[in-house]
């Protein structure tokens, strides 16, 4: 059994005005996919913000493993945190506008994390960017086009290439297929699953779509009002939900 790559230990974030997420425990291993489901306002995005180093939790710890060492994301210096996040963790946003730059070419968007990581050879950067665009099924010939000219599904694929080009150990995805039509969703989910499996990436995917959770994730967490109300193997939770909220959630989709 490998050690977990990302660990949340009774992580809590409370906003001044009210709830964020409370006492969340989570451990994810390389190559594993965990889904977090729940209604809007359940604290899913707050959880991702804290886990991705953008928002300091008000309680608990976020631990990330690098070279056999477990580092507390919010006690290391901001320099170390930046370097750690850059090399180990990537995030995909629901809205491509939050994850890619629209004023920069698609290839440039994929190249940026490499340049930020210190790659100084243009040819090498470019080749890697083009390879990753191909991996997400975008033609090399479109590499110098701005993402503005792309469809929503293509923009999301650029975002995936940009997130994975530095081969992060952990990928945090926030509704990666939200706002896309169903057939595009299906191919995108399949692509994501393949890439995550091929590169042994640990992925946390936040979704309100139980079908996405079922298809991708081996384990899932159900959140409500900032708390994890149920956690377990995906099949188990979906077929035999224990918590009343999970039951209503599952019933609302699977009925009929």
């Amino acid at each position: 059994m490998t050690e977990p790559i990302l660990q949340l230990e009774s992580m809590t974030h409370e906003y001044p005005g009210g709830l964020g997420c409370r006492a969340v425990d989570l451990a994810i291993h390389p190559g594993e996919i965990i889904a977090i489901v729940g209604e809007s306002g359940a604290g899913k995005s707050t959880l991702l913000d804290c886990a991705s180093g953008r928002l300091a939790p008000t309680g608990g710890r976020v631990l990330l493993r690098r070279d056999e060492q477990l580092l507390d994301l919010y006690t290391i210096s901001s320099d170390e945190r930046q370097a750690l996040l850059r090399s180990c963790l990537a995030r995909i946003h629901q809205n491509p506008r939050d994850g890619i730059r629209f004023g920069i070419s698609a290839g440039g968007n994929v190249a940026e994390p490499l340049l930020a990581a210190g790659e100084r050879h243009y040819g090498a950067v470019r080749e890697q960017a083009l390879e990753w665009l191909e991996r997400v099924e975008i033609d090399r010939a479109r590499a110098d086009d701005p993402p503005e000219q792309f469809s929503g599904g293509m923009q999301q694929r650029v975002q995936i290439a940009r997130a994975l080009v530095t081969r992060p150990a952990v990928l945090l995805a926030d509704e990666p297929t939200g706002g896309l039509d169903v057939s595009v969703q299906a191919t995108l989910i399949e692509l994501l699953r393949k890439l995550v499996r091929d590169h042994q990436i640990a992925m946390v995917v936040v979704t309100h779509d139980l079908a996405v959770a079922r298809y991708l994730a081996s384990r899932m967490l159900v959140m409500r009002a900032g708390r994890v109300v149920e956690a377990g193997l995906t099949d188990q939770v979906l077929h035999d939900p224990q918590h009343p909220y999970s039951q209503s959630l599952v019933a609302s989709v699977l009925r009929g």
């Binding site: 901001s78 320099d79 930046q82 920069i104 070419s105 290839g107 440039g108 190249a111 940026e112 994390p113 340049l115 930020a116 990581a117 100084r120 050879h121 243009y122 040819g123 950067v125 470019r126 590499a143 110098d144």
Partner: protein
């Protein structure tokens, strides 16, 4: 003979407390090469964009024995250069010159003199936009964080995009450079051609941005590296050919329109350098 300063003003116009504040800021700027130090810029009797930052630095630095040269785009005789020179003649009784080698203090806009500078000289730059990251990021707090982390990937991305689009780096002026491997700085809108003169220069180089209220500096003999790629190295362009007046094959040239048919004449932008070469042409130019 030095002109007599006008007595209605303190030496070099600014009051002593303000000059002390500026000098303290300068010391900090020299101590942290390339770092933009905030300062409380004063109103100066010239509009923003005309060198209010540079003129404050010159006022803080100029002493009784200093000899001042002021250039604008390499030219000693433009309105801006003449006005600032006269300003210090009147308020500081300063001796002035157009000869780069005779000056102890040179205030400049958009150029570095062709004549190599010495340890006895200080070069004062007028800077419109001190933060090179301003074109990339609107949020000042975020920019400060990027500088603190040496997070300059987005600037390299700008160069990447130029190569992807044009096959080469096309940044013609204000070419970003790393000071002593640390902070990224704006060299002010000097042509990229001048960037190599920033590097390991014997003179102290100080930069003043009046509107943005920032001062930064390059101490003498400091490494200044223009950003580039291993396979696309920094190679700034110069208009081809020789100066039509002094014959220089190496100086930075301005294009002058000489008729209505689009014909152009190329002349040195550094007027002092050009005139001295015309007065005493070196051997290689005569042949």
């Amino acid at each position: 003979m030095s002109p007599q300063p006008e007595l209605a003003y303190n030496h070099a116009y600014l009051d002593e407390a303000t000059k002390r504040m500026l000098r303290r800021t300068l010391l900090k700027a020299v101590a942290i090469p390339g770092y933009q130090v905030p300062f409380a810029a004063r109103e100066m009797p010239l509009p923003y964009g005309w060198g209010t930052g540079g003129i404050q630095l010159t006022a803080a630095l100029i002493g009784r024995s200093d000899v001042l040269k002021v250039i604008d785009q390499g030219d000693d005789h433009s309105t801006n250069a003449v006005s600032i020179r006269r300003f210090f003649e009147r308020t500081a009784g300063a001796a002035t010159t157009t000869r780069a080698s005779a000056a102890t203090l040179i205030q400049t806009r958009h150029r570095i003199p062709e004549t190599p500078l010495t340890e006895r000289q200080i070069l004062v730059y007028q800077v419109p936009r001190p933060d090179p990251l301003r074109v990339l990021e609107d949020d000042a707090e975020q920019r400060a964080r990027m500088h603190a982390h040496g997070d300059y990937g987005r600037m390299r991305l700008m160069l990447y995009e130029q190569i992807a689009r044009s096959g080469r780096i096309t940044q013609p002026y204000n070419y970003p450079a790393l000071v002593d491997g640390g902070y990224l700085m704006s060299p002010s809108p000097i042509p990229a051609f001048d960037n190599h003169k920033l590097d390991n220069n014997a003179a102290l180089q100080v930069f003043g941005a009046g509107r943005e209220q920032r001062i930064y500096a390059i101490p003498p003999y400091t490494r200044v590296a223009s950003l580039d790629f291993i396979d696309y190295s920094f190679a700034p362009e110069r208009p081809p050919g020789h100066c039509s007046r002094c014959g220089s094959p190496a100086s930075y040239l301005d294009a002058l329109a000489i008729d209505d048919d689009g014909n152009r004449e190329y002349v040195c932008s550094d007027t002092d350098y050009c005139q001295r070469r015309q007065a005493a042409p070196p051997k290689e130019a005569r042949s």
